[in-house]
Symmetry: C2
Subunit: 425 residues, 2 copies
């Protein structure tokens, strides 16, 4: 039954029952961490074979270079080819880097500020206030970068097919200080939304007052489906080129959630002009990437099909966890009409929306039981969810038995907060 | 016999002989590259055993963390301890990072520009012109960073015991826009100079108009002796602390020339306040370092004594090359008095000074024979050697037979240029 139409008496009774449950959980000394999208130990073990020294062979890259020595700023040919397949671009449009695509994003935005977006462009620090569009809810670490670097963030709501394009088009047409936009286009963090081809086309061709507008296209989950094959999606780099805005798209990915988080390979793809600019930046910033690790990854995967095959093994481990969370929400809350939850086809998160102004209290209550969720607000710029509704759930790490308990705890907290709100307590 | 006091006739005769030799070299189709300080294949092979999977074991760091997953921004405990031993500081004063200490230097200076050097400090981009002191001749990639980031460079000559402290003290006392200084304190690039304890003490205690003056102490060759034990040197971090300037020293190193260049581990050491500030920067910039590679290195070396033992094997390979170069210079040029060469006890370079305004011509002539040396001027800021005298020689990479030919070619070029100069040709 919908809570909103229940009698005060029934609500009070229900509240008492739920509070009893909550007390029990309080006494269980739980210690579950669902704050971050970390792969589980089982998932990590899928790539252990990669540590075999046969994947580094005689240390020679396909072009003959000894990967044990200095050289090749842009990454070894075979890893650029592999990422070229993943991104759907030519290897020449790829720079394969170190272990963190987030690091590349920070470094590029930092370079745009200090050096500009291209040869003879004006550095952003010399252009007054700079703004970025932030689809919300979104990825906290993106927002942390723009906040840290003094870039003003503008929230734009995300719909089922991607960010609200009517709003974005209006914003970027009229404000030349809006220089860029964050995005996780496939299985978005945290909503799981897959941007539609129509949204991608509009992003590629929209008129921007800033002639150096950049879309940071964090394709972190491009092959991270929960079942079947990776979702098909229009290629932003192609779409931008066709629309006459070839330098607008900056596409990133890494193998962090394919092999080992933090010990994988990251890469960036873009137009040749952008890639040349990035090389101009990186050639002074670094001595080049760890080529041994690139060689290991390239040899281990070989090609895109093997990457997808490998990701299906991850899906087999992840999908039951996601399904179980959804199932518990349905069991506990489908009648109540006090919680919305996403049902993603990929990625690492389930996004929930409580009733207005309850999210932080729900997270705090769960924390008292020893069940940690990402801080409420963290899916929004400046950690401020204007409606205090959104909570990001990361089901990947805990074993399924722990996950079940954690989500039951969450449901109790949601119920108690919602009822207290309805009763004006 | 000294060229300067030879008769015109004798010089002309000598010139003819040397030009004949040069013609012979021209026809030999040589192809030697001595531009960069790259370890040889033999040196790389010294570390191949490190690729064995036994050095990553069960992927667990000493604190129990699974190195295959996210976590530990500042590096795993055992690699921080190892670098602590190398730097002579507590592990807490170390951040162990990715594969490039140059990258850390760029990132820190970039952060100083955008965010400042400490909490509540004013970012350097908001402080007008910023300057750095550059001991010359020095490391081209240092100078490239400051040039790229718009920091004005001031040359200060390096003496046998380090940079000219009288000049530096005068400069920093009177100019608050001088915010920092580059340095390679041990077996300096390219001079091989080991900064004396007295120089280090003066650097630590000198009065600076800028209260956020920073010394970038690139201790790239701290254990890279050519024979015996590493040179002992006063610890700059201790000296700065004692002098009441605890945050002045930023010390860096990497295993690039211990294990594999570009696939090693880099680290930075400083005061706890600085380390906390660097963490504040890095926690937004990156997801953390590759901990698998850190674990591999920590397990492979174990402790400082093993590092030194390993470096002695490098020395056994490198020392004969350095000795041979010096020997050829002595054979060819000790009588002539037209060339000065360093005789380093460690590091990767021999530095030579030709007579005034000859270096670029010498390098160009050698290049015509297919023997590549680092471009003349590159050991100075803006690639401008005011006297056009200095050339950096990197003897590490070629086999000794090739090295001999390359240095003979160099000597012929030096002789021809010098004689033509003396004859006003």
């Amino acid at each position: 039954m919908k809570y909103a139409i229940m009698s005060q008496k029934d609500l009070n009774k229900l509240l008492e029952t739920e509070k009893e449950k909550y007390s029990e959980y309080l006494n269980m000394n739980l210690k579950y961490d669902m704050t971050r999208g970390k792969p589980s130990v089982k998932q990590l073990a899928l790539s252990d074979d990669m540590m075999s020294d046969r994947y580094v062979g005689n240390y020679k890259a396909s072009n003959g270079l000894d990967c044990r020595n200095y050289g090749i700023l842009e990454g070894i040919p075979e890893i650029r080819s592999l990422f070229g397949e993943i991104f759907g671009v030519a290897p020449e449009q790829v720079i394969a880097g170190g272990n963190s695509s987030l690091n590349i994003m920070y470094d590029l935005i930092s370079a745009f500020l200090l050096l500009g977006t291209a040869k003879d462009s004006t550095p952003w620090v010399k252009q007054g206030e700079i703004k970025f569009i932030c689809p919300v809810p979104g990825y906290d670490r993106h927002f942390a970068i723009t906040e840290r670097l003094g870039i003003k963030m503008i929230n734009v709501n995300i719909n089922d097919d991607g960010p609200d394009m009517d709003v974005i088009e209006e914003l970027v047409k009229n404000d030349a200080s809006i220089k860029g936009m964050w995005s996780v286009p496939k299985y978005s963090n945290p909503t799981g939304v897959v941007y539609s081809d129509e949204v991608i086309r509009r992003l590629a061709k929209m008129e921007c007052a800033a002639d150096d507008f950049r879309i940071i296209w964090d394709d972190a989950y491009s092959v991270h489906m929960l079942e079947g094959e990776p979702a098909k999606q229009l290629n932003l780099i192609d779409a931008c080129k066709e629309a006459g805005n070839p330098d607008r798209a900056i596409v990133l990915a890494s193998t962090s959630k394919m092999t080992y988080p933090g010990a994988g390979i990251s890469a960036v793809a873009s137009s040749i002009d952008n890639i040349n600019w990035f090389k101009y930046v990186f050639t002074i910033q670094t001595i080049g990437p760890n080529k041994i690790n690139q060689l290991r990854h390239a040899n281990y995967f070989g090609n895109y099909d093997n990457v997808v095959a490998h990701m299906k093994k991850h899906a087999e481990i992840l999908n039951p966890k996601f399904k179980r969370v959804i199932q518990i929400f349905e069991e506990e809350l489908s009648e109540a009409d006090i919680l919305k939850w996403s049902n993603p086809k990929g990625g690492y998160f389930i996004s929930i929306d409580t009733v207005y102004n309850c999210a932080s209290e729900v997270v705090a209550m769960a924390k008292k039981c020893g069940v940690l969720f990402t801080e409420a607000g963290s899916t929004f710029p400046y950690r401020k969810d204007p409606e205090n509704k959104n909570i990001r759930i990361a089901p990947s790490m805990p074993p399924i038995e722990e996950l079940e308990v954690a989500i039951r705890v969450l449901c109790v907290c949601v119920k108690i907060c919602s009822i207290e709100k309805l009763l004006d307590k």
